[in-house]
């Protein structure tokens, strides 16, 4: 019978392995189950969780004044387990999960830079988020670090970061960025190549780090929703939803049904818009300008309808604590139905042309392969995972309203190449259009916003949403005044950036743009 409670058997297994597990009496931050282990056992916990087949989904730190608390969130079969441990400020040392989970690599280095926690057996002790805006002895997310910091008058370039070097005859290096050639976000890529072949790619991110987690502290609920909507502009709906879901769970507030249906409608619209833009941009990166202009045309008209219906082209700030800020006028139901039907037809015709163009498919097939094993090891999900045999989708596997009453059509491909990531996007557009029609047909009446209560001091919640890139996990804890004490948003890009480093191996340098675009990680979403 215990098997019916998520993770019960795993917790038994931990006890057998000699890991003392405490299940706290305080209510867990819904929807996760919580366990607390001693810091000495933290590495063992990671090892056992990996053996058990859990995905390492997210990790973050918290400063609780007397101690620092470290969290790792695992997922298995749609159930979430939040493991916690504490370290003292005097001796902030902890075994690492990275030896078992490469997915934990950068998140742990982020925690190292922001909280001053040393992960003793982490294979890579280099800094990650920190460049040179603050000293190595300063930790911005500790509570005694002022928001303004103590920055130098002028921050210098981070030129001392030690990149992996390659030697040998014919090996050369290509440094790219942080200012890139296109209209895109900043980051640095360091290639080692022989001839046209990429031997290795190393990413250096953190350029757009703008203190998102720190400046969240002390905000009210509405202020956090606005900030969450700017974690990654292209995912403004999904991030705002995840943060509001976390806050609402902490406050014990259930938003009215109409509000959650409208949130889903906006989230599916966001998915369609981004997938349309991405397909156009991917094919453009191999010179197929026809696709770029056609899909750009579709994306623009789609955004215009979002603007007239919800008052913003990206539907930014439309999700607010307790519900949504904008109701949908009845007239738009017919408009959006017709729009969905027309788009389905247009996308069908265009994709038929794309799939039937040998000069295009020749570049997409077999380019940038991420094998299912690699994707799984890196903890990938979203369209990157689903192009590499990983079926996970929060809407289906850990459904939240209104997806508990809808059926999201599953999309899955297995080849893990750029072509598969295009196909997943294409089919996800169609699946999202089905959902939009179902959402419009079943849209309940009633209020669109519940009254925001003042949450209890220390109340915490986790919001988990399937954004267009994949699973977003948002953690929120309130302080005694009902303001934000801690906010951590885990964008899917934390898992897809490392995937890009892997899938580019042995591809040619000129295929990097198309491989990169097919993954399309958010810099801002990871740098925070």
């Amino acid at each position: 019978m215990t098997a019916r409670i998520p993770f019960a058997a795993f917790i038994d297994r931990l006890a057998e392995a000699g890991v003392a597990v405490e299940i706290p009496a305080t209510p867990p931050p819904a929807p996760a189950r919580v366990i607390v282990v001693a810091n000495d056992d933290w590495g063992r916990l990671g090892q056992e969780a990996n053996d058990w087949g859990c995905r390492w989904a997210a990790g973050w730190g918290e400063d609780l004044d007397d101690v620092l608390r470290i969290n790792a969130c695992f997922e298995q079969a749609g159930a979430y387990l939040l493991a916690r441990t504490t370290v003292t400020r005097l001796h902030p040392m902890l075994p690492s999960h990275t030896p078992y989970y490469p997915a934990a690599d950068r998140p742990e280095r982020h925690t190292q830079d922001m909280f001053g926690v040393a992960f003793s057996d982490h294979p890579d002790a280099r800094r990650w988020t920190r460049h040179r805006a603050w000293k190595s002895s300063e930790y911005p997310l500790r509570r005694d670090f002022p928001v303004a910091g103590r920055p130098p008058a002028q921050t210098q370039a981070d030129h001392q970061y030690r990149f992996l070097a390659a030697h040998g005859s014919g090996v050369y290096e290509i440094p790219v960025g942080p200012v890139h050639a296109g209209i895109i976000e900043p980051g640095h890529f360091r290639f080692q190549a022989v001839g046209e072949t990429v031997l290795n790619l190393e990413e250096r991110l953190g350029y757009t780090h703008k203190g998102t987690e720190k400046i969240a502290e002390g905000r009210d609920a509405a202020g956090l929703a606005r900030l969450a909507g700017r974690v990654s502009g292209d995912s403004t709906v999904a991030h705002a939803w995840a943060a509001c879901m976390a806050m609402e769970r902490a406050a014990g507030l259930t938003p009215p049904p109409r509000a959650v249906w409208l949130r889903a409608l906006m989230c599916e619209r966001e998915r369609v818009a981004n997938h349309l833009g991405d397909i156009g941009a991917i094919v453009n990166d191999v010179g197929f300008a026809f696709g770029f202009y056609q899909f750009g045309r579709l994306r623009e008209s789609w955004q215009r309808v979002s603007n007239t219906a919800f008052g913003h082209r990206f539907m930014m700030d439309r999700i607010v604590p307790g519900g949504v800020a904008t109701d949908l006028e009845t007239g738009f139901i017919a408009t959006m139905r017709a729009e969905a039907a027309a788009l389905r037809q247009q996308v069908g015709r265009l994709m038929a042309i794309l799939y039937d163009s040998p000069s295009l498919t020749n570049r997409l097939l077999g380019a940038g392969v991420l094998t299912p094993e690699q994707a799984s090891t890196l903890g990938c999900m979203g369209y990157v995972g689903r192009a590499s045999s990983l079926y996970f989708d929060v809407r289906r596997d850990a459904p939240y309203p209104p997806y508990d009453r809808l059926k999201a059509k599953g999309v899955l491909h297995h080849t893990g190449d750029v072509n598969a990531r295009v196909r997943v996007r294409h089919e996800e557009i169609l699946a999202a259009l089905d959902l939009i029609e179902a959402l419009l047909a079943g849209l309940p009446g009633g209020a669109i916003r519940g009254d925001w209560p003042t949450p209890a001091g220390g109340a915490e919640g986790i919001g988990i949403v399937e954004g267009w890139r994949g699973e977003i996990i948002s953690y929120v804890r309130f302080d005694d005044a009902g303001r934000i004490a801690r906010f951590f948003p885990r964008d899917p890009s934390w898992t897809t950036w490392p995937a890009l480093e892997v899938l580019i191996h042995d591809n040619i340098v000129p295929d990097f743009p198309v491989c990169n675009k097919s993954v399309n990680g958010s810099y801002s979403g990871e740098d925070l």
Binding site: H131, A133, W134, P140, F145, P146, V147, A148, G149, R150, P151, Q154, T155, Q156, A157, D158, P178, V179, A181, G182, I183, I184, E185, P186, G206, Y207, T208, H209, K210, G211, T212, K214, I215, R226, L227, R230, V231, S232, G233, D234, T236, G277, F290, Y293, Q294, G296, R297, R299, E300, Q303, R313, F314, M316, R349, L350, A352, I353, D356, S357, S524
Partner: protein, 171 residues
């Protein structure tokens, strides 16, 4: 190939005549700009876009300027890959401290006379992020700025209007 041609013919040109319903001034300014670019920039205004820490919302709208609805190239405006080829920097913010040196160097690499436009609420005054240990806020806190285009993010039409006005001021 035949299907591609058929599709192109069937869709026709969707590039909007600068829409009078949205802003009747824009058509007028567009023509002025075109004339101005013709006179002072040999028909071509080169823009280098620099993201100094944005959430990427502004980048989506700047990218939209190149979609067939706006087709900003018809005014002689085009985006270039290097600041050395640029007449104008379109800078989105807030300027993260980690990008501070990069944007200074980009500015230094842009030949004079150069124009700088700060884009978006964050580029204008730091927006939702303000100034902090990690952010210097407004673009003007780091490099000289000639004009500001507000909005979160500014729409493609706001951007077009802002670029045209900034060019006009300099004329």
């Amino acid at each position: 190939m035949l299907r591609i041609l058929a599709k192109i013919q069937r869709i026709g040109i969707v590039t909007e005549p600068v829409p009078p319903t949205i802003d009747p001034i824009l058509a007028e300014v567009g023509e002025q700009l075109k004339a101005h670019i013709g006179e002072h920039f040999s028909g071509s205004l080169a823009i280098r876009e620099v993201d100094t820490g944005s959430c990427n919302g502004c980048e989506l709208e700047i990218n939209a300027l190149n979609n067939p609805w706006y087709g900003i190239e018809r005014y002689g405006v085009h985006f270039v890959a290097s600041p050395r080829h640029a007449d104008l920097l379109l800078v989105t913010g807030p300027v993260s401290r980690h990008m501070e040196e990069a944007v200074r160097r980009t500015y230094a690499a842009t030949p004079e006379p150069r124009l700088v436009i700060a884009v978006g609420a964050c580029g204008a005054d730091g927006g939702e992020f303000g100034t902090s240990y990690a952010s210097r806020g407004a673009v003007a806190n780091v490099i000289p700025v000639d004009a500001v285009i507000r909005g979160c993010p500014p729409t493609p039409l706001d951007l077009m209007r802002g670029i045209l006005e900034a060019i006009g001021k300099r004329a």
